[in-house]
């Protein structure tokens, strides 16, 4: 049996209980969720920016990408972004750049055929 590559593991679809649920503040759920890195990229693009601020500074984004998605590299990049303290659209743009680049890279490696 072949072991899935790290890329395809990170790109897998998660069960709903392990999805990332976007809140704007304590207990206020927006109705948006992401059950894969691909969905996460889409949600970052469109979710209320207050939700991104809320989760970034609580450390929720890095925790989910590290512990649930199991992508330590992406978690580290998100952690570095947090240290720059971006807000609003600037935060969305920078976060979107990080997650979409990571997604494209993993998608490229997981679909590449071995030589």
């Amino acid at each position: 049996m072949m072991t899935p590559s790290p890329g395809s593991r990170i790109l897998r679809k998660l069960p709903r209980e392990n999805a990332f649920y976007f809140f704007t503040s304590i207990g206020n759920y927006t109705g948006e969720k992401a059950a894969s890195l691909e969905e996460f990229v889409e949600r970052v693009r469109e979710v209320n920016v207050k939700s991104l601020e809320f989760h970034l500074y609580r450390g929720d984004l890095e925790k989910w990408t590290d512990q649930t998605l199991e992508d330590g590299e992406l978690a580290e990049r998100i952690r570095s972004l947090k240290s720059l303290s971006p807000l609003g659209d600037s935060l969305r743009d920078q976060l979107l750049l990080i997650v979409s680049k990571r997604y494209e890279k993993l998608k490229g490696t997981s679909s590449a055929k071995p030589m």
């Binding site: 709903r16 209980e17 999805a19 649920y21 809140f23 304590i26 207990g27 206020n28 759920y29 927006t30 109705g31 969720k33």
Partner: protein, 164 residues
């Protein structure tokens, strides 16, 4: 107390007994009888009938958690749901021990209103994020944390004051 079909009609004495029990359910039949000017056997009889018919559902204890050093917060949560899943969501919420009350309400959308307790804001958030948001049919959630409580009564007093 009179039983008319499935409805039970309480008289003034029943209501006075209920009021006395609400103030202090540890009172004896004799004490209640003395208070209301009736025999203790009458009080016993009325209470037994109200218990048998399920009017008195249970006797409970109201704790002052602050005095025993228990720190907690209360929140009122409004859960917007897919109408097809609303009943299932309400049932699932009712099974969770952190959820004290669950009601449904029909405004522009179908809502579930629930009273929730947790040790602190972080645990409240974690509970909502991990146990409620993932339930199938939950569309979004609004939560208000209670900062100060001015009054807390059950509906009994209101109906007793209106004379049933």
């Amino acid at each position: 107390m009179k039983v008319k079909g499935e409805a039970v009609v309480l008289d003034d004495l029943d209501l006075e007994i209920l009021q006395a029990l609400e103030e202090n359910s540890k009172q004896t039949y004799t004490e209640i009888g003395r208070l209301l000017g009736v025999a203790h056997s009458t009080v016993y009889d009325r209470i037994r009938k109200m218990e048998t018919h399920g009017i008195i559902k249970k006797y409970t204890v109201i704790l002052d958690l602050d005095k025993v050093g228990v720190k907690y917060i209360t929140a009122i949560m409004t859960v917007f749901t897919d109408p097809k899943e609303s009943e299932n969501v309400a049932k699932r919420l009712s099974e969770l021990e952190q959820v004290l009350e669950v009601s449904t309400s029909l405004s522009e959308e179908l809502l579930i209103i629930a009273k929730v307790v947790a040790e602190d804001q972080e645990k409240l958030h974690s509970f909502i994020a991990h146990s409620i948001a993932p339930l199938p049919g939950v569309l979004r959630i609004r939560t208000s944390i209670v900062t100060r409580k001015y009054k807390e009564e059950c509906a009994n007093s209101f109906f007793q004051s209106r004379g049933n």
